[in-house]
């Protein structure tokens, strides 16, 4: 009889052996000699963490209780592996392409890097997996207790034993799970230890099986007879349970955090999957081969009431095979420990990345500098998470009492994590899936699972009252945990699985259809669903396609001519190649990518080499990353450019303003000089003649009258000038009040001609066509009259022809009216024409000339009236045209 102490010694020795292997593997990997560590065989064996203590011990118990149904647990994963081409390959490709570190990371990445989703998934995973960890602790302590019973040593305190097992596992996981922080989250030591444990548990189970068949039953034929005689052998399948359980284990296989860890995160080469697709089902087949014989023999052999979960141990012990029993114990131990280690690792990654780190970063405040110290914080948070998760498992184990059968608890856990499946599969196959859809599906599915599967598992009256079981939650009969929506008669397990997954999927699809994905979500959706279009299988470079010369040219552009040449020469020398062009080996390409990364950023370097190597297409993600890098530079240069153009704009504005001010000042000076001249000149005459009249004695009456008339005329000239100046000022400032009236054009012209003739200078023959003038106008008639008077007076003053003549014509075009005043005077010289509407622009030296404000006033008036005045010089005279706005245009104003 082996004492418990001996067994503990063996366990410790085994653990130390595992430590050693893991340690050596890590060292080999660090020295770059770990290629063998990542073989397809190791990959396949690492997948065996699917077979936990539940499978190792529980399958026999399951068979002893429920017959062949245990097969479903193996059938589901086998189907997934055999059909790997469809879903698993895509999952692995996406996981690697996105560098997903966990299920939570993957789901969050798919739905626009939503940390909310990641947190939800993490919490669900911890809730779903913690009982499972407790289960493993329970199985180890339970198996230990088997050895203590017959020996009669000090009775084993299971809780204390459980604590030490948990403690040991935590130490192992911390040591090998968080030794280093790789971007890819791979753990060579852990993986190799798991592979070894996979071999141990397989050998142990096979050994017990062989012993049972050939050592106890007496060979294959008697064994078959015994099986036939046993009720287990009868294949009375409950079809719904079979289908549901097979589907469930398949779903769990894909969605379990620990399976994602070994299958996707620790995957070195996608091709390993291809080999595992048949090798892993073979492994499962071997694991299940002797389950039925052991169960049948155990039921026969062992006393009634003994725990069938432990037949694997108790049957050899009962036969006195202590060595075999010890091996079997190690097998179970291996199953339990490997599961706990990987599951904890996976959960702690999720916890740390999605819960602890965000909280920590938040606590640091927004201004926190994320520096190299973060690395230590990450490791610390990882370790704390590991301790917390194993601690939770231990607490659950301690307080749940561990009463339930292993298989039942395993199934509940499976159903819990299977809730991730719709969001995962929807995410990789359906671009329309949205964040809110995923969140809705997860929450609905998980709630149903908690209500229909987890809580009832504690038994009626434990968490849910008996009344709830009978009459439903809140007394609503459709909320009975085992007969949801009034559909009773289903097997409780099937009921929970079907409802949770169905409602989960329904919520996921419906909410996805009614919500819109964000831009990042869309992009990620495309990346996930079309992953095979974007990424290439091999991450390394296919050297054959790149030519060294192209690479050199590109490198020279980035690193500089001499540096690039030195780099290539050194590589050529290392390869033993003459000259400066080395072979573009994958290693060299990787080195080159690193060198370039230093200069242009990782994404750009990758994209550039991709371009040259040609075989690898540049993925959308690569381009996005390049865009990110260049966007920062662009952003900066854009800012600079914006600043400098803003400056030059301001400078130009200042220059313009200055020029305007200068021009205004010059104009003002000229204007003041003009005004001064125009005012002082008549004043001079007035003063001079008034002094003559006053001071000269004996002035004749004729002279007196003449000089008085000059004074009178100059006074009128002054008044007119002041009137014009004020008028112009008012018009120019826009302060003029226009008085719109309706009248006929002929009346206006009549009045203007009469006024002009009254001021009477020179005989002017005015010709009109009265018929054309019968036009109704709505405008400021007085102002229009003022314009006409001005034009007629000008003709009177300046038309020097022998028979001065002014022709007034009215033209109508589309409602627009033009009044043309053409005389037969000397044409105004072309040089002066541009100036005639300017202030003080006097063309003539005529004494009758005004101050030169008349036409300037006319122009201002016409602008205010919405029309215009223009000048047309001809060979035989001058013409002014007054354009009046159409009545429609006026109405619109």
């Amino acid at each position: 009889m082996t004492s418990v102490n001996q067994l503990i010694g063996v366990s410790l020795g085994y653990v130390i052996f595992l430590f050693a292997i893991a340690y050596l593997a890590e060292r080999a990997a660090q020295r770059g000699k770990g290629g063998w560590l990542r073989s397809p065989l190791v990959y396949t064996l690492s997948l065996s963490i699917y077979c936990t203590a539940w499978t190792f011990y529980g399958a026999v118990g399951y068979a002893a209780r429920s017959g062949m149904e245990f097969v479903t647990i193996y059938l589901g994963p086998s189907l997934v592996m055999i059909g790997w081409w469809w879903a698993l390959r895509k999952l692995v490709r996406i996981g690697r392409a996105q560098r997903a570190t966990s299920v939570a990371d993957l789901i969050s990445a798919r739905y626009g890097k939503s940390n909310l989703l990641a947190i939800v998934v993490t919490i669900m995973a911890v809730i779903g997996v913690t009982p499972y960890i407790a289960l493993q602790l329970q199985s180890v302590t339970l198996s230990l207790s088997i050895f203590s019973e017959p020996g009669g040593d000090a009775p084993l305190n299971q809780l204390i034993a459980g604590f030490w097992v948990a403690f040991g596992l935590a130490i192992f996981t911390v040591l090998f799970g968080t030794r280093n922080l790789n971007a890819n989250e791979r753990h060579d030591g852990v993986v190799i230890a798991i592979a070894v444990e996979a071999v141990v548990k397989l050998i142990a189970l096979l050994a017990v099986g062989i012993f049972v068949v050939w050592g106890v039953a007496g060979g294959l034929a008697p064994m078959m007879e015994q099986i036939d005689a046993s009720p287990i052998g009868a294949w009375d399948m409950d079809r719904s349970r079979w289908v549901a359980l097979t589907a469930l284990s398949a779903a769990a296989f894909l969605a379990l955090p620990r399976m994602f860890q070994v299958m996707v995160v620790e995957n070195e080469d996608e091709r390993h999957l291809q080999i595992a697709s048949w090798a892993f089902p073979v492994y499962l087949l071997l694991m299940s081969l002797f389950v039925v014989p052991i169960a049948v023999v155990g039921l026969d052999l062992m006393p009634a009431g003994s725990n069938p979960d432990l037949f694997v141990l108790t049957v050899p012990l009962a036969q006195g095979q202590v060595g075999l029993a010890t091996l079997s114990f190690l097998g179970g131990f291996s199953s339990a420990t490997s599961m706990v280690i990987v599951a904890t690792l996976a959960l702690s990654t999720m916890m740390s990345n999605h819960v602890v780190m965000p909280v920590w970063l938040n606590l640091q405040g927004p201004g926190a500098q994320v520096s190299g110290d973060v690395r230590n914080v990450v490791i610390l948070s990882r370790r704390a998470s590991i301790l917390m998760i194993i601690g939770l498992g231990y607490l659950y184990y301690r307080f749940s009492g561990g009463g339930s059968a292993l298989a039942a608890m395993g199934l509940i856990s499976f159903a819990g994590v299977a809730q991730f499946l719709p969001a995962m599969m929807g995410g990789i196959f359906w671009r329309g899936a949205t964040r809110w859809g995923a969140l809705a599906g997860l929450c609905v599915g998980f709630s149903v699972w908690v209500f229909c599967s987890l809580l009832p598992s504690f038994g009626p009256g434990a968490v849910l009252s008996v009344a709830t079981f009978d009459t439903g939650l809140f007394g609503l009969s459709w909320l009975r945990p085992q007969a949801l929506f009034g559909i009773s008669g289903l097997d409780p397990t099937v009921h929970a699985i079907v409802w949770s997954i169905t409602l989960n999927t329904t919520a996921f699809v419906i909410v996805s259809l009614f919500t819109f994905p964000g831009p990042l979500e869309r992009l990620q959706g495309a990346q996930f669903v079309n992953v095979f279009d974007h990424s290439t299988q091999a991450r390394g470079w296919d050297a054959a396609l790149a030519t060294s010369e192209d690479l050199l040219i590109m490198t020279q552009r980035i690193l500089g001519a001499t540096e690039a040449l030195d780099l290539f020469r050194a590589e050529a020398a290392r390869q033993g190649v003459q000259g400066h062009l080395p072979e573009p080996t994958p290693g060299f390409l990787q080195q080159l990518e690193r060198e370039l990364t230093g200069s242009v950023g990782a994404a750009t370097a990758h994209a550039m080499i991709s371009q040259l190597v040609g075989g690898a297409s540049v993925s959308v993600q690569d381009l996005m990353a390049v865009a990110d890098e260049s966007a920062q530079i662009l952003e900066y240069s854009n800012q600079l450019e914006a600043k400098s153009s803003e400056l030059s704009r301001t400078a130009r504005k200042l220059r313009d303003a200055n020029a305007k001010l200068t021009a205004l000042s010059v104009q003002k000076d000229a204007f003041l000089s003009q005004i001064s001249h125009e005012l002082r000149t008549p004043m001079t005459s007035i003063r001079s003649f008034s002094e003559i009249l006053r001071d000269t004695d004996g002035l004749g009456q004729v002279e007196k009258t003449k000089y008085a008339s000059i004074i009178h005329g100059e006074a009128i000239r002054l008044t007119r000038l002041l009137d014009d100046l004020l008028d112009l000022s008012v018009l120019e400032n826009g302060q003029v009040n226009l008085n719109f009236e309706t009248g006929t054009l002929s009346t206006v012209l009549e009045k203007a001609i009469l006024t002009a003739q009254a001021s009477g200078t020179g005989p002017l023959d005015i010709r009109r066509r009265h018929l054309d003038e019968a036009v109704t106008l709505t405008t400021d008639l007085d102002r229009l009259t003022q314009v006409f008077i001005n034009l007629i007076t000008n003709a009177q003053k300046y038309c020097q022809a022998d028979e001065p003549r002014l022709v007034i014509e009215v033209r109508q075009d589309d409602g627009a009216i033009a009044v043309v005043f053409s005389d037969n005077g000397m044409p105004i010289p072309p040089a002066a024409r541009a100036l005639i509407f300017e202030k003080f622009a006097r063309i003539s030296d005529n004494d009758e000339a005004g101050a030169g404000l008349g036409l300037a006033i006319c122009r201002e008036i016409m602008t205010r009236l919405g029309g215009e005045i223009s000048f047309q010089g001809g060979p035989s005279g001058n013409a002014f045209t007054v354009h009046l706005p159409t009545q429609a245009a006026l109405a619109a104003q």
Partner: protein, 124 residues
């Protein structure tokens, strides 16, 4: 006296007034109203005094003065300049150009007559 005065001015009423004042005291008065040809007239007439308006059509009084003074023969000829522009800069420029007396319009008749007499006396 019988001295010869050339009046370069374009305002008829002002010409009339100055001619009246000067002729009454026995001055011989010639007038010229075009700026462009004023220099030629001054040089050919060689009057004892020139009364020069500042703002003239064709050429400004300042330009005329500058051109006249450029000829050494006319360096000492008395020039009385009248201006209706009220700017102090005009006076500075005229003095720089060698004006003998600078007066702003409107002036008093006595002032002008005194200036004319003084200038001619000084020149003798």
């Amino acid at each position: 006296m019988g001295k010869h005065v050339l009046l370069v001015e374009d305002e008829t009423n002002i010409i009339e007034a100055i001619r009246f004042l000067l002729s009454r005291e026995g001055w011989q008065v010639d007038t010229h109203s075009d700026g462009a040809t004023a220099v030629d007239t001054i040089q050919s007439m060689r009057p004892d005094l020139v009364i020069l308006d500042y703002m003239l059509p064709g050429k400004s009084g300042l330009d005329i003065l500058t051109e006249v003074r450029a000829d050494p023969d006319f360096a000492k000829m008395p020039v009385l300049m009248l201006t209706a522009r009220g700017q102090s800069r005009d006076r500075e420029q005229a003095e720089k150009a060698g004006v003998s007396r600078f007066m702003t319009k409107p002036y008093s008749n006595t002032e002008v007559m005194t200036a004319v007499r003084d200038l001619v006396q000084l020149a003798q």
